[in-house]
Symmetry: C2
């Protein structure tokens, strides 16, 4: 009936669980599920074209990663848009970024620093051509590469999780960000890193993150409207 080996149909390298996981994560990140909404396993399984077994594995992963909430006997729920949680995540992010830049100053290789500068050069000059989704992606990539130079894999793992969980509010926030200013701050951090100037790095990075943090609360409030707007249901059937 299915699974016809059509040959080059590029049987996706990933398992069904991985595919479902990515789909659900994308939905959770973009709040396609409304905050607090209960996720019906049967319905979801039908929509995604899989059985409940791999679906539940994916849901469980998202639960432990903080994208969903689970209540025994009741099921999975979209996480609430909790301003306090967002705030905590920002603080967490700030902590490990500050810590990792200190480590990076001691450990980063000059060639890697230069590569990051080149990355900034390549992605920076662009004016207002990019969508906020793309801008957030660029920003995340920068910060993750920066943290990568600390050599601490576990910090990077935490950062990636945090980034994914605050991505939604950053989409909203990014619209109002002065991109060239952001760029300048990023460059200042990397140049401070190259100069092994810890105080400069920390102070710039601290302000850089704080500036976002300061506006998060208001962004969340304003963002509520967008969350409840009809998420583009990919009606593929």
């Amino acid at each position: 009936m299915h699974a016809i080996a059509k040959g080059p149909v590029e049987l996706n390298s990933d398992s069904i669980v991985d595919r479902v996981y990515e789909q659900l994560k994308a939905m959770a990140i973009s709040y396609e599920f409304k905050p607090g909404e209960r996720l019906n396993e049967g319905e979801l399984a039908k929509r995604l074209g899989v059985s409940r077994t791999p679906l539940r594995e994916a849901l469980n992963r998202l639960n432990t990663e903080g994208f969903l909430r689970f209540t025994p006997g009741k099921g999975f729920f979209c996480r609430e848009l909790d301003a306090h949680e967002i705030f905590d995540l920002y603080e967490l992010r700030k902590s490990i970024e500050i810590a990792s830049i200190r480590l990076a100053i001691k450990r980063a290789r000059d060639e890697d620093i230069d590569a990051l500068l080149a990355f900034l050069q390549a992605t920076g000059p662009d004016p207002g051509e990019r969508s906020s989704v793309e801008l957030v992606e660029l920003d995340e990539t920068f910060h993750e590469r920066l943290m990568g130079m600390s050599g601490n894999t576990e910090m990077l793992r935490v950062l990636r999780n945090v980034n994914a969980r605050i991505r939604f509010v950053r989409w909203i926030d990014m619209d109002r960000i002065n991109r060239s200013n952001t760029q300048a701050e990023h460059r200042a951090v990397v140049e401070g890193l190259k100069a092994r100037d810890e105080e400069r790095c920390v102070s710039v990075l601290e302000k850089h993150i704080d500036r976002r943090l300061d506006r998060i609360t208001s962004a969340i409030k304003e963002g509520y409207a967008q969350i409840y707007m009809p998420a583009a249901r990919a009606g593929a059937n």
Copy 2:
């Protein structure tokens, strides 16, 4: 038909998945599985008296939390005892502990600080009566309560995960720790917290954690022997 409320039969409050998860986590923490060992789902399911479905859910949770590794098509494996990973986890822990003590200085209520002092008082005087497992547990509790006073739930979540993953090496390390010294440092931190003396707190805490970190590498090497000793297999059948 059944479900006769036998009353004290203590129908475990948790689901099967939760129970299996806790059992497996305990095994993973104590390295009852040897590093790199492949976990046979069928065998494990039989040993634990459950089917593979809840078992796999539990295994997946442990995978995302870093206790196990998973390779598609091959299965779950016990994580390697990776010295670098332990080191990274310690650095991560140090970062968020330092950050959280700064926050706690601004936010902690005096009564909570006093409660933590009372906790130290209650658990401290004890001489060398406790096992290293108990000592680690006390130490973790202290640090988690300390971080709790930062009010940052997400940092606490990360700390808990880190603690569980480095617990094993701490069991080994704890044997050689000067308990009264540890106690004194803990008290110094809390008293600095009460005095809202940031510099004092940070410097004591930093040294407190660094002292462990410095010895971790050697502890790991010495610990290898213990890991490969026959883990008490609960041969319940």
